[in-house]
């Protein structure tokens, strides 16, 4: 198995497994039969913290555009709309998360997967994703800080 990479978020080490690909909106995509399993990276989960609620606004087996809104998530720290990582087709959702989303926190790279997805888009490899995290880190901190100040 390829090496795991680590991105330091302050004191927190976000692990970026080497066995899968990534999307710029902080999702991982792991190849499975007929497509990919998709989930939140450790980076996303660290920012969200405890996930309370997850809801999808589209049906399974739906074609989506890149950046199309597909659902909502609420956690102890954040609210967010969720967006399709690329153009493609959402095949099915991880039903077990709808009643209890805690696997997103406890096993984000495994049982906490969100949906399965079919796409022809070009994905990021782990190194490219870490590079993107490095480039965006200051900006992300500013965005969060800015919202705390405004809020």
């Amino acid at each position: 198995m390829p090496d795991e990479l680590v991105f330091m978020m302050g004191q927190y080490a976000a692990k970026i497994p080497g066995d899968r690909s990534y999307a710029p909106n902080h999702l991982w995509l792991k190849p499975i039969d007929g497509g990919y399993q998709v989930g939140f990276t450790a980076y996303s989960v660290r920012l969200l913290q405890d996930v309370y609620f997850l809801e999808w606004s589209i049906d399974p087996d739906t074609r989506v555009r890149k950046k199309q809104s597909i659902g909502e998530i609420e956690s102890s720290k954040a609210l967010s709309t969720l967006y399709a990582p690329f153009e493609g087709r959402v095949i099915e959702f991880n039903e077990s998360l709808l009643s209890d989303p805690s696997a997103i926190n406890t096993d984000g790279y495994g049982r906490g997967w969100l949906f399965t997805f079919e796409t022809d888009a070009e994905l990021l490899d782990p190194a490219a994703y870490v590079k993107l995290l490095e480039a965006g880190w200051e900006d992300t901190q500013r965005m969060i800080k800015g919202q705390i100040n405004e809020g």
Binding site: S44, K77, Y83
Partner: protein, 358 residues
């Protein structure tokens, strides 16, 4: 001359929603009997043109004015302003309960604000007060009647106002109908005033009713926020915006505006452009910008930013007009790089800070 009266104007909602009709009628009926108040009904504010008799009537009101409408107060205030119904902002104690916290933040923000707002350059705004009240702020007529009576009491202890001189001039005959809300109510049963789309436009026009209005769509500028940066003028490719004699931005060709398109509002760095009919509260004129203490990570998870969304909306309207989509190549603000100087903190400190807030 009788003691100074408070003028209350109810701007009717669009459409036939019976709950809305009932509230409007309940409030009007109660106020007709009130000796301290003159009450009138007008069609939906946003749909009345500048020369509509309802707007003429509003311009003729000399003293303090309470306007009730199915709009955010900020939208009401600036819709009136663009038709020269202006005055000082009256503070209503009746507001959405949820809005209270935001209000405090608003005020705090306004104090240490050193930006140059267009409103600061305007002369001759009358001293009288205009109270704008959102009819969605409470249920049942009682809270509204209580608040109107509170304002009426506040009003009677005020000193004599120079604006009084207008009172006593004969009302033009066409405005006469606004002085008889009882007749207007009777004539308008079930159909909102002036609403052509939903009313039976073919029925014989009653002299007690105002002339019909059509649904409109155009931006309304909040000059207490606007800094005259002209980004809307650069961005809109339909020629809606222009400048006045003092080089201040204004909505010049409102009928060029594309129905449903709020793109310029998203581009505005001060959130000063209101589309009162838009479904997003911040665009429709609600106060405040961020809801609650939770952070919004939508941008992180791939949300199109406001500028991308605005460009997309503009492109759709350009294409519908048989023109070519321009995407992000024309009239896009160059301000995204300005944020670089803000202080930086470690994430842990941020998260700890959040913990204390929760």
């Amino acid at each position: 001359m009788p003691a100074k009266k408070l003028t209350v104007v109810i701007s009717q909602g669009q459409g036939k929603n019976p709950a809305r009709r009932n509230l409007e009628e309940d409030i009007a009926a109660a106020l007709i009997m009130d000796p301290d108040v003159d009450v009138s009904l007008v069609p939906h504010l946003y749909d009345m043109s500048r020369d509509h008799t309802g707007m003429l009537f509003l311009r003729s009101v000399p003293g303090d004015l309470v306007v009730l409408s199915w709009l955010y107060p900020r939208a009401t205030r600036w819709i009136l302003d663009r038709s020269d119904v202006s005055g000082q902002e009256g503070i209503s104690l009746l507001k959405d309960e949820d809005a209270d916290d935001e209000e405090e933040f608003q005020e705090a923000a306004a104090k240490d604000d050193d930006k140059d707002r267009v409103a600061a350059h305007r002369n001759g705004v009358p001293k009288r007060k205009i109270y704008c009240i959102d009819l969605r702020a409470a249920s049942g007529s009682k809270p509204f009647l209580d608040e109107i009576r509170r304002i009426a009491r506040e009003n009677t202890v005020q000193t004599f106002d120079l604006m009084q001189w207008i009172q006593g001039t004969p009302k033009p005959q066409q405005l006469e109908r606004y002085l008889h809300p009882d007749r207007m109510l009777a004539a308008s049963k079930a159909t909102p005033l002036g609403d052509e789309e939903n009313g039976s436009a073919t029925s014989v026009a009653s002299p007690d009713l105002p002339e019909p209005t059509k649904r409109r769509w155009y931006p309304v500028i909040d000059y207490s926020r606007c800094t005259n940066c002209m980004e809307c003028l650069d961005f809109c490719l339909f020629g809606v915006y222009g400048v006045d004699g003092q080089e201040h931005i204004l909505v010049e060709q409102q009928d060029n505006c594309k129905k449903g398109c709020p793109a310029c509002s998203r581009v505005c760095p001060e959130n000063a452009i209101i589309f009162p009919g838009h479904k997003t509260a911040a665009i429709a004129g609600a106060d405040g910008e961020v809801a609650g203490l939770k952070i919004d990570l939508s941008r992180l998870f791939g949300a199109p930013n406001a500028i991308e969304l605005a460009a997309e909306e503009r492109d759709a309207e350009l294409v519908a007009d048989g023109r070519t989509a321009v995407g992000l190549t024309v009239g896009i603000p160059k301000r995204q790089t300005e944020n670089a100087a803000k202080p930086k903190d470690a994430l842990d400190a941020l998260m700890d800070g959040l913990d204390e807030l929760m």
